[in-house]
């Protein structure tokens, strides 16, 4: 209706003008500024990482060079990473074992808990949620000191088996932050699923267990998957626990191995080798994050939109 009013009161030329609103200079400046700003953000985020990649592609003898493009480029550092005393291949396998087991354990234990927190009614739910989230903020150092005494079976823990340099000594403490993280995340995902689907399944004769397995689980798969990625990255990036409980090179994880690198070139800090190892450790994570970034961020904002 309003259109007719406009037509009646405005000339043809004015309609043309209204139909193609001229971009004001201010809007144009704003747009350019936002693109410049975005470019600045990306450069800010990428540039230090670029430096790591570039430094890994130099000759091993030019570790501290400040050339922006390696000259001559070389992949010797990547060969050096796996050479001799570094034990880096072993460390990578250890990292996969520790992070993988942590992720699987966390998902199995966390999924049932998250289901209860998202769907069932019981007394003290807020308290349980509060407890779980406060665990993930917990300073790891507070756990590590008594656990170090316990795992090395010193007084007063002589009865405890000697666990230093074992996988369980790395996995169990990692659960302290990975499990709360996963439960919290999964609860949010389960809450988003409409309860009516479950009801329908149960009307059709499913038991609650079947309803969970056949209806909820497939639907929650993206959420479970995202949680798995996040948990895996958290466990993969863990440093303090691995540093404490795995002094033996044959059991230490990749993050600890990198921090202890002596490299192949001897006395000087082998920056080239360290950076190459850093790239090796980071690139799989980066690929996962970049492929699933939409999912990670969508999950993140879904909570807000809802």
């Amino acid at each position: 209706m309003s259109t007719t009013t406009v037509e009646e009161s405005t000339s043809q030329a004015e309609i043309e003008k209204l139909a193609h609103p001229k971009r004001s200079r201010k809007a144009l400046v704003g747009m350019i500024a936002s693109y410049v700003g975005m470019a600045a953000i990306v450069i800010y985020c990428i540039l230090p990482f670029y430096w790591m990649v570039v430094s890994s592609l130099r000759l091993p003898t030019e570790g501290r060079s400040t050339e922006f493009i390696p000259n001559p480029p070389s992949v010797d550092n990547f060969a050096g990473v796996f050479a001799g005393t570094n034990n880096f291949g072993r460390a990578l396998i250890n990292s996969v074992i520790v992070s993988g087991s942590t992720t699987i354990l966390t998902l199995i234990i966390g999924m049932v808990a998250a289901y209860a927190l998202a769907r069932l009614k019981f007394w003290g739910k807020t308290m349980v949620l509060g407890l779980i989230i406060s665990c993930s903020m917990f300073p790891q150092i507070t756990l590590i000191i008594p656990l170090l005494k316990m795992f090395s079976s010193t007084t007063p823990f002589e009865w405890f088996p000697y666990w230093i340099n074992t996988y369980q000594a790395l996995i169990l403490p990692t659960l302290s932050f990975a499990l709360p993280l996963a439960v919290w995340n999964l609860t949010a995902f389960f809450r988003q699923l409409p309860v009516e689907l479950e009801q329908a399944a149960m009307v059709d004769g499913c038991t609650p267990g079947q309803a969970f397995r056949k209806v909820i689980l497939p639907l929650a798969a993206p959420g479970v998957f995202t949680t798995a990625i996040i948990t895996f990255i958290a466990a993969w990036n863990e440093f303090l626990i691995a540093l404490t409980f795995a002094p033996d090179p044959s059991i230490q994880t990749a993050t600890v191995a990198i921090s202890k690198f002596t490299g192949t070139t001897g006395f000087d800090t082998p920056y080239g080798t360290i950076m190459a190892a850093g790239v090796i450790v980071t690139v799989p994570l980066l690929l996962a994050v970049l492929i699933f970034q939409r999912r990670i961020v969508a999950g993140l904002s879904a909570g807000g939109v809802k």
């Binding site: 953000i41 049932v112 019981f122 150092i141 756990l143 309860v195 149960m202 440093f239 807000g304």
Partner: protein
């Protein structure tokens, strides 16, 4: 029990249902207990028991050397009460750091506090600025988002070593700035080097979370403000900030708690025993490494209490503001429901944020 699950979870509530609920929720309670017990058991084993052991440990001190009374070499440990705690005031362990000659504990304590305040403040400002820029953009947002996740995905210790190379005395930072600053010596620049590395790693993530909050603000609100003649700054102060606040406060809370336990960055970049960047976590770790478990536990318990205190203050302030913003709250059910929703809303934000950190 099956029907109970279905009926009870229905969001709408009315009086007759309530009478039934009590009869049936018993069964749900039992099921919940069964489902939750593995998680709670793990938390008890890996968090609960260690805390208790840590508190116990903090009341003991290792025997060192010869007992003056008996002349015998003693091993093991003895109960010393609160001595490990009172010793931090005794000033037996003086070191020279950025704050003059003070006890090593207080040096680490001040470092931890200053790191937290500086890093979180800079991260928040930078993160909000990034979010505002991204919110303005129509195209290329996915690209920027991908870039922003890069610092987040790099393991903290790797980024520490990366920044160590950048801040090397003959490194690229000095080359760009044209200076010859010894960034990683035990001196003031080391503090700022760590701050820069930490801000780089986590500011983008605060930006990402804030962006998620920004996108929930309806455009009508801005249009109304424009009609009323509000300029950009007023819109930012009066609309954007208040409406993005719930998301932002959660993000800042998690960043604060995460920075308070910072370990990897100063450890990897500057090293151990460097008093200008030594945090409470590092100090406690080193004490434990020298078999001084008693004092180490005491320091870690103090850090734990400090973190809990800050979290409590945050939640108190946050809670007060939630009530202040909302319409006069009808107590009991409705309020609780809203809190539930709030919790759900911030759940993923929180979970993701808590992992975005650099310890």
């Amino acid at each position: 029990m099956a029907t109970a699950t279905a009926v009870e979870s229905k969001p709408s509530g009315s009086a007759p249902r309530k009478a039934r609920k009590n009869a049936l929720s018993d069964g749900q309670g039992r099921l919940s207990a069964i489902l939750l017990s593995p998680t709670l058991l793990v938390i008890l084993v890996v968090v609960g028991i260690p805390i208790i052991l840590s508190i116990r440990e903090s009341l003991f001190l290792a025997n060192d050397g010869i007992n003056p009374e008996t002349g015998l070499v003693e091993s093991g440990e003895k109960f010393v009460g609160l001595q490990n705690y009172t010793d931090i005031f005794a000033g037996q362990n003086q070191v020279v750091g950025a704050y003059g000659t003070i006890d090593r504990f207080w040096n680490a304590f001040i470092n931890t506090s200053l790191f937290t305040i500086t890093c979180v403040l800079l991260e928040t400002i930078l993160g909000v600025a990034m979010a505002l820029i991204m919110a303005k953009a129509f195209r290329g947002r996915g690209f920027v988002r991908a870039g922003i996740l890069v610092p987040w995905a790099i393991p903290t210790i790797v980024s520490a070593l990366m920044w160590k190379l950048i801040f090397d005395e003959s490194g690229v930072m000095n080359r760009i700035l044209g200076t010859k600053i010894l960034w990683l010596a035990d001196d003031n620049p080391a503090f700022w080097a760590v701050v820069i590395a930490d801000v780089w790693k986590t500011a983008p993530f605060i930006g990402l979370l804030t962006l998620a909050g920004l996108q929930t603000i309806p455009a009508e609100v801005y249009e109304a403000a424009k009609v009323d003649g509000a300029n950009a700054w007023q819109q930012f102060i009066r609309i954007t900030l208040p409406m993005v606040k719930p998301t932002l406060v959660v993000a800042v809370l998690f960043r604060t708690l995460d920075t308070m336990r910072m370990f990897d960055l100063p450890w990897g970049m500057v090293g151990q025993g460097k008093y200008y960047v030594e945090t409470l976590s590092i100090f406690a770790y080193q004490e434990a490494g020298q078999q001084r478990y008693g004092p180490a536990s005491a320091y870690s318990i103090i850090l734990f209490v400090y973190i809990m205190l800050v979290a409590y203050l945050f939640v108190k302030i946050l809670g007060a503001d939630v009530v202040g913003d909302a319409a006069p709250p009808k107590k009991t059910k409705r309020k609780k429901k809203r809190q539930d929703q709030e919790a759900g809303k911030s759940a993923e934000t929180a979970a993701l944020e808590s992992m975005g950190g650099a310890h």
